[in-house]
Subunit: 299 residues, 6 copies
């Protein structure tokens, strides 16, 4: 069973709307190697897990649960990058037939303005809808771990490329966080394979470059965020039996399973967008809604 | 941020393997109107929610979180229905080239045995992979609620049909639970629309028939399970401002938002399936894994 | 603008339900070379037609309009083949939790019983949904005509194969009619290409065999149904300028454009299927509906 | 059986070519909530209709037939918006290897110039092909009507957004007409559900805003176009038993079923586009075609 | 540039037609981890290869070229398994309207008989068409090699499962050959990663079991077929710089790059199938064709 | 069995990077009528060929093999058009967090920079992945030949349109070559149908215009490249029995089957792209690779 607290797993920096950057981030949400895919892949691997090797199950599932929070984070980031990318409503003008959404014709994915109301969608940066056949779960433990390592590495590679596409601070705050967490997840799966006898030599992390040349990433790596993994369980986990001790990157660092969840960050409500008819209630219905919102709880 | 406890939201009854029933249940997991879709649709609606009507946001999100546990439940159920549907390994025989998986050619979805290792997959009962374009999130509050009502009703309709396709107890224990919870979710979204002024007359629930004619469903409805909704938040929710008081079905019943999560049920590890090479470790690697599993925690 | 009369373009013979045959016929409805595709392809070619060669436009559009009636015919046929394929309701039994839909697990496409209510769907015989990218409209007149000839020939080929898969009279009455009409449509497009200078020698129709060896087909060919094409226009057409005179099959036959629509056949309402919850109204709502149905018209 | 008259259901205003606007309109043609989808959904619901409630069947089918004319209208509009968006042929120049189609690289959907010949396609505004799985036909009458109401409302929402993206007069003349007709169709399905006991309060139409602030829409609403529905039958219909009397929007208006089709508008042939090789006949073949076109009819 | 000799890369054993086995083999041809995918993935990786590490390029490309021959082999095998699965023509009977293709309704993929003429198709065992998004080519050398190792291992895993589904000798002769070649390809990519410093310990091959318990596989492994790789170049290759010496499986074996292609096996023409209209020429056209076939070459 | 020589089938001219042109060329590679499709379609038709008409088999297969080299050519061309389209690395700057890939947000397909490393992908110009259902192989010889003729004509039509979209010399050198080869392939299939009795009159080639108005095309046609077809077999072919003598275009030209392969052109290695992490090895691993590359062959 799953539970939620109303906090984001990382803080989203404030910057201008940027629908083209929002579209690039869609790859990290709904792309073949994005967060929806890691989330669903690890959920299915956990559900279908075979055998008594509970520490391996718990290790895969720990990452699965974290990915749901990543979907929440990157989805919210895309929504903020889109919000206000239309022109302001006054330009539209009552009774005048203006074109407040005309930007939609030339930037990013037109569906962000036409199908959604300036919000995230389950598609990739080229507009392809997410596909169930992305999910890999062979049932062979070695193969599933190997695929997961490759998957996290590809996710990190793509996010490094997105980093190089935009310097919008809203986009970069989330992308940098995910570069570091994908790094941690690479180590998680590499360590599990190390426990089966593989020595990774010097190939980790993949891509193997000095990510601290990205200033926003450096700040996070300086806190050791790439070396830790919380288990996201309210009732304990056995993953620490695997994920602890020397890093599988063979660089002298130490990895550790943390028993405490990271500090969260408050979620902000998004404003109304009348030009999108979102939420789009007429005055008399909005009044009903406001009355309900103003009630004491648990009436 | 999301958390997990190692419990299932309902108990799964024990019965014989049944790959044809497993395949029918795939519609409830990976179908256009299945649990993956409700989960993702409500997650996106929560992430992209606009305006200050927090009780409406919390109401949608409450169902979203529950759906993750439904994915876990129905996925596990499918896995159990498949497990052991192959012939036993001895028939295969070392060095003899037997055909322990020959049933895969004639029953259910061959991918359950060929791509997965007798486990659930993100596809529907006709084998189509889950598709991101299923997710509906117009950003217009009235429309999103109306769609959600229709979605839950269709989910319940399809599960009633699945109920009529198989009397396997494993399948029915989960299908019956979901029929009742879809019923509750219909009432959740109908109540929200009622708060905007709609009177549903006598059309609810949809399909509108006496579901207690299904004995397994009756047992659950007798406990009032179709009239309650927990918010699945560790830090509170405002959904009770909407979901409380008279049922929108206009039948004299009372609905309520519950502050306590339901009792969970223990999760059982699935056995090894050598004929699927799942987990498929050779003896020397299995020994390594067993040593790790036997360690004290948090080494 | 389009209009309708409540008649089927051919009569559907009565026979037993047969979900496997229904599934085979889905190829003729929603397959890559089925009626939905011919209908949409010719509609798009008509809409996007360039140049002053109106007889060519009218010729393509004549077939387009006929195809809508073919979709209606084959869809209705599939619906009849499915209807009653479930076990009768009494076996299900009030309060007893029976399995009237259990046949759905082993025959044809389970979606016919689970997603639809024993009705036709826009999918092919392998369950793939119809796809917009099937539609071919290059805008080059020669190529569009050449593709259309190939398309009709492939449709006819596949229907001849379906004929050889089942002798259910319901299925065969429609399949035989469509074999003959695809034959006519082959001649329509071949004649248009002949007007551009092509001599088809002896290759028509494709596949080139004696279709009168299929008795139900022979009966229709004996009436010359494969040599005529109505224009389906209430306000005239210029297609006769092309489609008249000697057959492009070079077999001595004469083709003609008919100014009168063929005689239609009455449409029969389908019965209720309580086990599918279709239409699924509870008694009190059914009473409301019956009152409306009993009213004089135009109240 | 279906018939056609050579008239458009609304007039298309003349304006400059605009491939970006054409692309936006594709959502209204081939999108998940566009005219191809409503057309196919209602056709399937009509074909598979169960039970004796003929007025409900006729009501659904009336909208189905109108949607075929909408496909014709919006397809033609897209074709006109594209036509001439390439540079004129002289810039290309015989023997000089010019680039008359270079605009295709930077505006709208490149397929409009590369796969089609500046004509409409069965895809949405993000280039995804139309998909059969869009069609919803559960067979449960209440659910099908509820879905249809949601579908028309979403169609109207999206068209209102497209209206705000472009002020090209060609695009707006069709979009405004469809906004008003979707409004009417919302009332049609809402009225049918009202007949089953639902009171819609004040939520209709969805999105609920003053659409007369769009001048082109106001002009059409002033004629009451949003309150009428023709049945498109040459042999009568029973839909008036449902669709007549007070509007389900509870605003004092009256809705009515009309027995006469609306006045149509003449269809214009599109010019040749040599740079697209459309129709692309060489001089000697064009001469053959011209001779045929010049013949008296019915030779 | 590519060339061909009219030989199969392995011999196909003779056995009875078996459409269900044919369908299982489709996963190995058109599935996500089948031969079409490995072929296309390695071709793209070769085309887009960056940097001067030619031995790595040549190693990837060597496998790419072999995979084209694997597509040829498994496609031909499927075709042979299907051939004759229909009933013999006499049962159909001239003028009698028999059903020689009725088996198509109940076994394997109906498209094998309806869309194809008892021949292989580019789809998987669940009927999903092959998809371009399967192809992985990140451009990062480490990642591409890691993915390729995982891909070959998954291919081998699936083929081992198919082996356990059928003992048809035609199917097994090809499946066993591919199990052994996937084994070799695992070693090829593992060796390349070893050259970058990875020590695979004891996890190879994946799945790690004694494949010689499959008698048909043992026979091939006894020849060392799993330890060799030819480069398929008419003008030399540098792959031997990587693929030679000790096996990356750390089992004491030696791998080697072979400069000579393996011995091929003759290709057999498939018989005519009149009930499929394949090739389906009428007598007078068949006579023309026979005359051409009887001509001396190079007329 | 297939073999390779390290040569391109045509020379690629040098010009500036141009991602928009690269994207247009994707239609010719991964589009519905592109080279991947012709290659796979003819391979499947060859594998599944029925009957003794070997010259027809060899004719289809000759084109199949050539198409593999076309995939190699156009893929390499796309890769060159993309290469360097990002800004140079110094702009990115170590430790400075630059945006060398920012062009990816506004030109062509963002996946070229985000999913691939400035390399070709198996998608079309609108970003849709290649689909197995494109492949047509009815098994009826007349139909397969007719489809192939239409396919080559459509390929040539689309390439003529791409020619008119860009004058980048890299793009045009390959597009012009493919226009001429598609022309030849049209004649190949038209000639085969002529041998069955069809007289094509004056409709060939399609589109029927003076392609020598494109200067790059004229240069190639002046060599007669559109009238020849090599068989790409190391062990002979019977296709010359069909493809020789007068052109089926009835223009007095003569077509011929050539026994010698055309002269090839050297392949150039692509440079490293650090901003894409391609190949992306860190210095110490690059050193290992360089040592291997420097070895004598066949160590």
């Amino acid at each position: 069973m799953y539970f939620h607290t109303q906090q984001l797993i990382n803080e989203i920096a404030v910057d201008q709307p940027d629908p083209a950057a929002a579209n690039a981030l869609q790859e990290g949400l709904g792309g073949q190697f994005g967060e929806m895919r890691t989330m669903m892949q690890y959920l299915f691997q956990s559900i279908n897990f075979r055998g008594k090797a509970k520490p391996y199950h718990d290790l895969i599932h720990a990452v699965a649960v974290e990915e749901i929070s990543h979907v929440e984070l990157i989805g919210t980031t895309i929504s903020r990058l889109l919000d206000g990318a239309s022109e302001s409503l006054p330009k539209m003008g009552a009774g005048k037939g203006g074109t407040p959404l005309k930007n939609a014709l030339s930037e990013g994915n037109i569906h962000h303005f036409l199908v959604g109301a300036q919000g995230a969608m389950p598609v990739d940066a080229a507009g392809n809808p997410w596909l169930g056949s992305y999910v890999y779960n062979s049932g062979n433990l070695t193969l599933d771990l190997l695929y997961n390592l490759m998957l996290e590495s590809t996710g990190r590679l793509q996010k490094c490329r997105i980093y190089e596409m935009t310097d919008n601070a809203t986009a970069r705050s989330t992308i940098s966080f995910l570069i570091v967490r994908d790094h941690a997840h690479e180590l998680v799966f590499a360590k599990a394979l190390e426990s089966l006898g593989v020595n990774w030599g010097k190939i980790l992390p993949i891509p193997n470059f000095d990510a601290t040349q990205f200033p926003e990433v450096r700040k996070l790596m300086d806190t050791g965020l790439h070396l830790q993994q919380h288990h996201w369980r309210l009732d304990g986990s056995e993953m620490a039996k695997i994920f602890s001790g020397s890093s599988p990157a063979n660089d002298g660092a130490t990895v550790e399973t943390s028993d405490s969840p990271p500090t969260g960050f408050p979620m902000q409500p998004a404003p109304e967008r009348p030009e999108e008819f979102g939420p789009g209630l007429p005055p008399e219905l909005k009044e009903l809604v406001d009355q309900i919102a103003a009630m004491g709880e648990n009436i």
